[in-house]
Amino acid sequence: MSDVAISTEGLVKDYGPTRGLAGLDLEVRTGEVYGFLGPNGAGKTTAIRLLLDLIRPTRGKAVVLGLDPRTDGVVLRRRIGYLPGDFAVDGRQTGAELLTYLGNLRGGVAAARIDELAQRLDLDLGLRIRTLSRGNRQKVGVIQAFMHEPDLLILDEPTSGLDPFLQHEFSDLAHEVSADGRTVFMSSHVMSEVQRTAHRVGMIRDGRLVTVERVEELRERSMRKVEIQFGGPVRAQSFVGLPGVTDLRVNGSVLRCRLDGRADALVKEAARHTVVTLSVEEADLEELFFHYYDQSDEAGGAA
């Protein structure tokens, strides 16, 4: 198997006058969990549906598992597990009926394998799908994507509607796939989820890939909001200019700032005073995005 699972080159998709993708260059390596992160309307779903040949590109090309989705669709899709962003199925059937049918379309999936996954996600397959809660319906979607152990999983916001416990369970599933040498490509809005699950993150905005990062590096660099409550008033001056510290505000004995990168300098400076409480909050996705986009815009402008 080649070491590239998905590659796209200049993929453009126009929906009439609106542009869904504006030249997407993507490379997902075999065996990794790749998080595809972007705000609403960025083009994540569009890219995913192009890879499955559900829609056709205006320009550009995609190669998935060494095959062209356009001409080798059937062969290719046999090796893919797909979870749509809006997992909708006929609600009159039970989970077991649906999964049996979908398994049969793939040449059969052992009932034991389906049951094992259902147990793991704590789902009752005997119920009619329309009677399930949203999260439980999503579990059916997750099971159908994983059950036949495909070489490549393409998942559009897989954890939407799942509670935190199941989000962790999902991460484990994805890691197992990757440990097996198989590939996961998943879209998300949620940075924390991607950080937990993925090895690499591609950020997309306005139909273009803005940056690709290794999650470990991202974690080190990602911005945090820090709030320190001291035993008595402190002076702002001693904290100004510490590496990674921005947006510094000191209000009596409370210090608030943003921290980018290593916490060392800030902690050491704070340790000179009496620290009552210390809270570090991860910047939410929105802030992170704007931070990165500003940077990349600057870099682009300077070049």
Partner: protein, 264 residues
């Protein structure tokens, strides 16, 4: 029944097929059971006094025989219209209904080609028509003695019902193809029932206008009963025409379906 696209579609349609079968057997059989009442001197005289135009419009040109009566009331009208409605509703479900419910995406992400999916489902629809029309055929055979239909043979009934299957498949094909090509339920229903209404007028009303007699040749209702299969047996020309059109329309719809984007 969950083996493949073909069986799954039929399985999902089971309730609808059951209900339509019952409705058609009851309504068609009910009309047929009226024959002994119609076939009395008082009524026959009353019917003959209808204006010629009205009788032609209603296909009432020959109500003095059981086959003429059944053709006019059951096969050319009430059952034909019921089957058109079934064909339009089922034909819409094949692709457009599934797509508008956002449930088509998932199936097409499986290892089935679009053409395979569409053709298997259409074949399944045709089988559902065969089931409905066959049960109805058995119902009519059971009525031969009690409803005094004995001037029509089993074979003549069979010929009529073959026409019925092709006629219904034609409307299913038109509706399916419109839905497959556009992905829109409203277009599928509109075109399917529009062709039905036009076809109905083209057979009963328009040909009465001076110089427009030829229009009836364009009507599916004419292909259904114009050759009077209940009396003359299978009309090979009409059947081949319907078969050819079903094939062509289905091919066109499936081809258009395989080329376009699937809506979310």
């Amino acid at each position: 029944m969950l083996r493949n696209v073909f069986t799954k579609w039929l399985w999902d349609a089971r309730r609808s097929v059951l209900v339509w079968t019952l409705a058609i057997v009851v309504v068609g059989g009910g009309y047929a059971a009226f024959w002994p009442t119609i076939n009395t001197p008082g009524i026959q005289e009353a019917l003959e006094s209808y204006p010629q135009g009205l009788r032609e419009a209603l296909n009432y040109d020959d109500l003095s025989t059981a086959s003429g009566y059944l053709t006019a009331s059951v096969y050319g009208l009430i059952v034909a219209l019921l089957l058109v409605v079934y064909a339009v509703s089922a034909g819409t479900r094949i692709i457009a209904g599934d797509e508008e419910a956002s449930t088509l995406d998932l199936i097409l992400a499986h290892p089935v080609s679009r053409i395979q999916l569409a053709l298997q489902r259409f074949a399944s629809f045709v089988l559902s028509v065969v089931i409905i029309v066959s049960v109805f055929w058995l119902g009519m055979l059971a009525l031969i003695v009690p409803a005094q239909l004995d001037d029509i043979s089993t074979g003549q009934f069979a010929a009529m019902h073959v026409h019925l299957v092709l006629f219904t498949s034609f409307f299913g094909a038109v509706t399916y193809a419109t839905g497959a090509a556009t992905g829109r339920k409203s277009f599928a229903i509109g075109i399917g029932s529009g062709v039905g209404v036009l076809g109905y007028f083209a057979q009963g009303i328009i040909p009465q206008l001076e110089g427009l007699e030829w229009v009836e040749n364009l009507s599916p209702f004419h292909w259904l009963i114009g050759g009077d299969p209940l009396r003359n047996g299978l009309q090979v020309g009409d059947c081949l025409l319907m078969l050819g059109l079903v094939g062509a329309v289905v091919m066109w719809g499936s081809w258009a379906f395989s080329r376009r984007d699937i809506a979310v």
